[in-house]
Symmetry: none
Subunit: 189 residues, 4 copies
């Protein structure tokens, strides 16, 4: 086994420890020492890779949600949106996602980084999907799509943070339906 593989496995081990810990208590109770103990590594190993607890949690989230946001271009726009938002809601409602929200709120500069590295690509995927739908003639081409995406993503985060409740399937379907209504081709007839 090479050095890189070992390092990678150890990091996975640490991510697992974070997930395990966050399943038992909240982010603000999370300590590096507990993570190290659960992962069976020394504190210094953790500090070697991550400057702060917040960065570790952020990477844990990344590792935990890797590639769950892939679109399926064969499906309809609506199905893709529903699937995307459902997965987002699930990811954010998971203990690691909750912790991520705390980190984002606490560290504005990390929020910026995370936004660029993680959220923006998702939006761009979605833009590509919208572009395809436009080309297929399913939706209007003259529409403030960025704003539209905010009205989809915003309420999901809003519900989880402020209502402390995960949006259920019905909510998401209703939301997508409501937001897509004015943009459909037939809506302009």
């Amino acid at each position: 086994m090479t050095q890189d593989e070992k390092t990678s496995r150890r990091q996975d081990c640490i991510f697992q420890a974070v997930i395990e810990a966050l399943s038992e208590y909240e982010y603000y109770q999370l300590t590096i020492e507990d993570i190290a103990a659960r992962a069976g590594v020394g504190k210094s190993t953790i500090y070697r890779w991550w400057k702060h607890k917040s960065e570790l949690v952020l990477d844990t989230f990344r590792a935990h949600t890797a590639s769950i946001f892939d679109l399926d271009l064969a499906k309809t726009l609506e199905d893709n949106l529903i699937q995307q938002l459902t997965r987002l809601a699930q990811a954010l409602n998971h203990p690691v996602g909750r912790a991520l929200l705390v980190v984002m709120a606490n560290h504005r500069e990390l929020a910026g980084n995370f936004f660029h590295d993680f959220l923006l690509p998702r939006r761009e995927q979605m833009h590509a999907l919208l572009q395809q739908s436009i080309e297929r003639g399913e939706i209007r081409s003259d529409y403030p799509f960025d704003l539209m995406l905010d009205t989809l993503y915003g309420p999901i985060h809003y519900k989880i943070i402020f209502f402390n409740r995960m949006p259920d399937d019905a909510y998401i379907r209703a939301l997508v339906s409501l937001v897509l209504q004015p943009v459909r081709m037939q809506a302009s007839h």
Copy 2:
């Protein structure tokens, strides 16, 4: 001066200290000891009234934003919405509002309380306004208004937390316009 007045002044003094401190650094750097020193009170005085730093920040936000959310029933629905969301964005973008967002993310149970005490009343005001607009025949009556409000409030919070940027006037106007579009009476023609 009565005892109550003294108490009230001391509390105002503490709120001011919190605001002042949050103007200089972020919530996660805020300490009770610094607040006490700035307010010229003992730590125990603060702990007498608030169990945790988070509750103090929450009350500070309440005091800081008291009565800025009153509706003006004489204005149009759109103007009211724009004014409401603008004020919300300003309040949340202010250091105390930023701190509030952090507290909400950190303490889910407080988020629940705050939602019931503060956000729900605002929504109910807004519902009343919608009801008035329906009666005036300005907007449709068959519409998922709760969901609609989420698509208004959600993006505001979303922009501030994740984009780390306060929505400007143009954004808010565009948002309100977009969301109100399908609900206007003439939209169904």
Copy 3:
């Protein structure tokens, strides 16, 4: 009980913890955390009074050996010297004394302070005693007394540090006798 008394008692408690710990293991194994645990105080309480472990040990030594070096002017010079050196040897051979020697070796600047605050006064007492003996006509007045004191104190420390052995009574008596020999009045006959 006043604040000062309480502080004093707590400090005694900490000194006792240091003595207890040093009776079980060597100075280099001594940790602040263990001292705090034994004394039933928080680490911060110890750091409030002493900057470093070395200063704490130094003060512990001071407290432990307070007023054991008083001279008895009624006794003869030889008896006083023997008593003084015996007590010194006992103090240095005690675990706390051993620790002191380590601190002195490690921290040269502390050695200087300690020398001025503790050892110099002892020498001055001894000088007074010598002066009295001169006046009584027991010893010569023309003699390098400072050097003489070095040949008394030096070997005691030397034996303990390098031979790792406490000078016994016979050794001390022989040393005093040897050193006093040329300074006695009858020696000049």
Copy 4:
């Protein structure tokens, strides 16, 4: 170059690194990692030969002071003593010597070993010299010479450790003179 030569050179390199490091800061700040870096060797190479930092310092002192304590039997006893004590004082006052004193204070068992390997042979050389002086009729034969050597060696160490000052030439001459006074042949006339 044979393997042994390389090993030897590497060890010299490490000794030099220790001396260099101790010239810049005190023993308690010395780290194996810094030594390894200065010597351009891996940490494991050091640990292969020395169990602890203290043993390395001890060997460095040995290497650094090798054969500076040879007596010159042609010279007088007094000159030999002065030369010996001057060299001792210089060796102990050198950074490496200071470090040795710290090691001796810290590790009592090492002090014992070092005493047997290094100090005792010096004393035995000195005893031989004394024996020669007795045979030459320069000094008395009935005298506690062991004790006498303590009154010579002791003050040197004492001055350096506790007064934090190297005994100068005048001091050493005065000391030797004082101690030799009663043992000279003419002293008994």
